[in-house]
Symmetry: C2
Subunit: 464 residues, 2 copies
Amino acid sequence: MAEVSDAVLTRVDQDLNESLERLFAFLRIPSISAQPDHAQACRLAAQWLCTELSALGFDATIRETPGHPMVVGHDRPEEAQGLHVLFYGHYDVQPTDPLSLWKSDPFAPSLVTGPDGRQVIVARGASDDKGQLMTFIEACRAWRAVHGTLPVRVSVLIEGEEESGGANLMPFLKANADELEADVALICDTGMPDRRTPAITTSLRGLVGEEVTIECATHDLHSGMFGNAARNPIELLCQALGSVRDSEGRVTLPGFYDGVIVPSDSVRDQWRAIFPDDSLTLGPVGLSRAAGEAGFTAVEQIWARPSYEINGISGGYEGDGFKTVLPAKAMAKVSFRLVPGQDPEAVRAAFRAHVRNAMPDDARVTFSEHGASSGFAVPENGPLLKTALDALGKEWGVPAVSIGCGGSIPVVAEVKEALDMDSLLIGFAQDDDRIHSPNEQYGVESFHKGIRSWVRILSAFSQL
Amino acid sequence: MAEVSDAVLTRVDQDLNESLERLFAFLRIPSISAQPDHAQACRLAAQWLCTELSALGFDATIRETPGHPMVVGHDRPEEAQGLHVLFYGHYDVQPTDPLSLWKSDPFAPSLVTGPDGRQVIVARGASDDKGQLMTFIEACRAWRAVHGTLPVRVSVLIEGEEESGGANLMPFLKANADELEADVALICDTGMPDRRTPAITTSLRGLVGEEVTIECATHDLHSGMFGNAARNPIELLCQALGSVRDSEGRVTLPGFYDGVIVPSDSVRDQWRAIFPDDSLTLGPVGLSRAAGEAGFTAVEQIWARPSYEINGISGGYEGDGFKTVLPAKAMAKVSFRLVPGQDPEAVRAAFRAHVRNAMPDDARVTFSEHGASSGFAVPENGPLLKTALDALGKEWGVPAVSIGCGGSIPVVAEVKEALDMDSLLIGFAQDDDRIHSPNEQYGVESFHKGIRSWVRILSAFSQL
């Protein structure tokens, strides 16, 4: 079978410029799912994908939801034998603010060569997730071009609300469970621990999002007329949010660490071999010391420990100059990243109790939810995982490793619950891809070797 | 002399509607000094005043500064004998945000009758300070209309940067000391302790304003990729600002209370007679318990104790929905109200040291100043003070009292330093005037009896 995939790999190399052109066309569509005025662009991205998949021989359709539409495609739907994979990606992207920090239009993709000679694709969604999902579609294209068919049975599901809550995915999976069920889900939305080491992500953090608003006086006051005697909601917010972690970086909410499993020494040794020094993790973003719990490396803090973050805060006068206002109200957006074993609703309840307990008379606090998902660990001993790791190692010339991920990819838990399927998280992003930030990028090597990696993985799967 | 002022008071009553119309014209000018795009409106307000004063026989001029212009006017400049008063006010107003909370256009003044039958003027600046300063100008107008002259020698100085730092006032006073020197400054920018009791404010708090910015990573990060290991500047800001006061409301900065004088028991008794219960102070703004230091009433906390306030805070994602950003930067605006005896620069230094000490590695903190002024106490035993208190008592039918003020009126200290003059702070604002807040108002009675009060005070001064 080696020669079968070799021809496909050659085809991938020859077609790279055309593959990039197709990706650029996709990146030009400003499919920001969180912003209602971009709904039409989201639909356009779905239609673009549907057209591409149809051209590749998939039976592809746009599927309506209460939000942005899904794209579903099936290859070889008539044949029931052989391994069946369900590939998942998302066509929606994050908002672009602050726009002033972008060096070029977020939706005018360009190739940029860095000082180290490395070529990157710059655009919103270049990495997360348009560039990544296109590695799989381009691998399918090359297989079909060379052999007229794919080596295993493939279904594709691309959603459009991953960056904005994804409330419609779970109902869609449940409503279409018979159609979407396969042997394994392949998800391309994760990264590599460095430039050279391929990886499969076997643990993910969940997320609890909360918005908290504190109100005191009935209206904004003059700090000269009331300062000292009237409660200041910004100060109360600072006191409540500033005391969630202690000076050692440990979250003080009662029960917060209940159920958290510390990674085994062997896993920690493997990770420390990849990241012998925190500066490898933090240096690229201008930091030098891990901020979280003492006793864990930066990578362990991100991959295996729960976090507490203040994602936004607002209150009083934020403009130029100064205003001696004693504001009536202050607001913050807060999130916890959860590891397997933690109960999202228990964490939410503990946070709310902490804030409420910090409130004196005359302060009214209200909360609103922004999603909840559990941390998730993918079984580490399945034959598909081992086969995929081997195939990745062959492409990159370095043994592939199992790593954790500090982010939340709710689809993994949802696919498990709705379809009873495990997922393999295989991606080619780099930590400096600046996803969710201005000047998002994706390495041309990530894209090129990503496509080649999928060619090898599908080939190896066909021999199981 | 009684009949002399009686005729003027009658004239004030007869001319009230026209006085209100003139005030409304002044209120329509959006002279927000803090916002650069309102510079032309500030100049327009100065020109409007200059025209009014000239029409009243003042030798009035617009005087340029590096910021917004001053208005200076002199009546009877040729006659050197008799008492000479320098009246001070400011034509600039606070910004109007949040605009959505205004029930009407802040610069379209209207008369509104409340449920208690009380009539108020609603507009930005209605009370602070356009309505207040016009009480004096209208009193001068009535004197001149009846007698063709004013009873004492009057100079007027109206500035345009009181709400935005006022950095140009002190140099102006010093550069024009000979021209501006008088026997006493009359300042109309304070209030009454309740609806019926006239008052002269004999102590003021100073102000130290600071803006603090904390920066960590070089750019905004994804909280999934870095959360727990990368410093969060919002959390650091909350920890630093949330620990300036202890749980008893006491500021913990070293040396903060050095030099602070506790008011005498007799003064505290007088204040407690006016405000026997904190609910009188706090109830109108929806609060019930004094938030500051234990052992002081709300009024004592405001009039005689220094304060710490967070006036604004900003960082990360503040819009609708949720964004899992780990921001690179967070900012807050902070102020301290100071009582006589405290050193503004020592307070600023102690605050900066507190914030710097709270910063771990990887956090860069920068500060910028937003003004500094000392607290100030006006001598309580001068003959002008007694005369003015008596005149006020006659107008309102209730003995006038000496009170404190929690606000900062830097001009008092600056007039003392630059011109070696004491000030009398006489104003007619009410605590529910909502100054600096949406729906600012000024009672028609404050305006009417304010004009009449100045008529009586000028008359009494002419008999000294």
